[in-house]
């Protein structure tokens, strides 16, 4: 019997995406075991990698990393296609969309910190919208907007600052 070897041709780009995604997945998993004061209030440290990928490489790689991370993490945690996964996907897609436009802003004035804050607001905005129309179709969730916005600003700022430092370390400004 002959053994057939299936070899997938990979490019350097694929390897780069895989490496970054692996780090992002690892960070997501670490985060998933950390206690959270409220469902949904999470630092979102994996977004550091998405943002880093976008600045260091390009938007396409960042998109791959962001989306792969959501799918892989949910498969590992057994949440694939569950509401948690849907929320996660919505948040990621919206924050990626925001980043796609935000990266066009003049980089002279806008650093990763600002972009991170914008993307975390887009993230939570999309999730709250999904919760409102699908999971809890009632106006009472508006009570949560102030808390989630405050968390978005805080964690968005911290993540952005970490990304900025990372880029400064690896790159020249």
């Amino acid at each position: 019997m002959t053994r057939s070897i299936i070899k997938i041709k990979t490019t350097l780009l694929d390897h780069q995406i895989a490496k970054l995604s692996a780090i992002a997945i690892g960070l997501s998993l670490i985060e998933s075991v950390l206690p959270s004061p409220m469902p949904g209030v999470k630092p979102g440290i994996a977004n550091i990698i998405t943002l880093y990928a976008m600045y260091r490489f390009n938007f396409k790689i960042a998109m791959w990393v962001g989306i792969l991370r959501v799918f892989a993490t949910s498969l590992i945690l057994g949440q694939f296609l569950s509401p948690t996964f849907m929320l996660s996907l919505t948040g990621s897609v919206l924050s990626l969309l925001t980043l796609y436009f935000a990266i066009k802003l003049p980089s002279k004035f806008f650093s990763p910190i600002g972009l991170s804050v914008l993307s975390s607001f887009a993230h939570i905005g999309g999730q709250l919208f999904l919760v409102r129309i699908w999971l809890i179709p009632h106006a009472s969730i508006y009570y949560l907007i102030p808390i989630y916005s405050a968390a978005a600003l805080l964690f968005g700022f911290i993540n952005g600052w970490i990304t900025y430092r990372l880029l400064k370390h690896h790159n020249s400004i």
């Binding site: 260091r56 980089s107 002279k108 004035f109 009632h138 009570y143 102030p146 400004i173």
Partner: protein, 124 residues
């Protein structure tokens, strides 16, 4: 893509707008006001609306026995309940719009109403 950030002007602007939004959100969505009326619901129907500024004791005889609702100095509470758990009694006084006390065994609930109806999770 190289980082060319020379000033954090845009970032500061984003943070500032976010802060304004958060303050605005807290003011809008966390706005609690003192109620003026208590609505008493008994056996699935509205038993009546009573002013919170008129001290009163309401006695309702339900399936389990007698529930007593007390209204005093702009607040309302269950003074007595016939049930075993006494959850409604132990929750004490309520006075903000949207606040609610429920006695499920005896089918009595009270809710504080104001000028505008506050959001609550029970209508869902």
């Amino acid at each position: 893509m190289k980082l060319r950030t020379k000033s954090f002007l845009g970032d500061s602007l984003i943070v500032l707008i976010s802060l304004i939004f958060i303050v605005f959100a807290f003011k809008t969505f966390w706005h609690f006001e003192t109620g003026s009326v208590v609505q008493v619901n008994f056996q699935g129907k509205t038993y009546g609306n009573f002013s919170l500024f008129q001290d009163k004791k309401i006695s309702l005889i339900g399936k389990e026995g007698e529930s007593i609702i007390e209204i005093k100095e702009g607040r309302a509470r269950f003074a007595r309940a016939p049930c075993k758990n006494q959850y409604c009694v132990q929750q004490g006084w309520i006075h903000l719009t949207g606040q609610m006390l429920i006695c499920i065994p005896n089918e009595v609930s009270i809710e504080i109403l104001g000028k505008t109806k506050a959001y609550d999770s029970l209508n869902y």
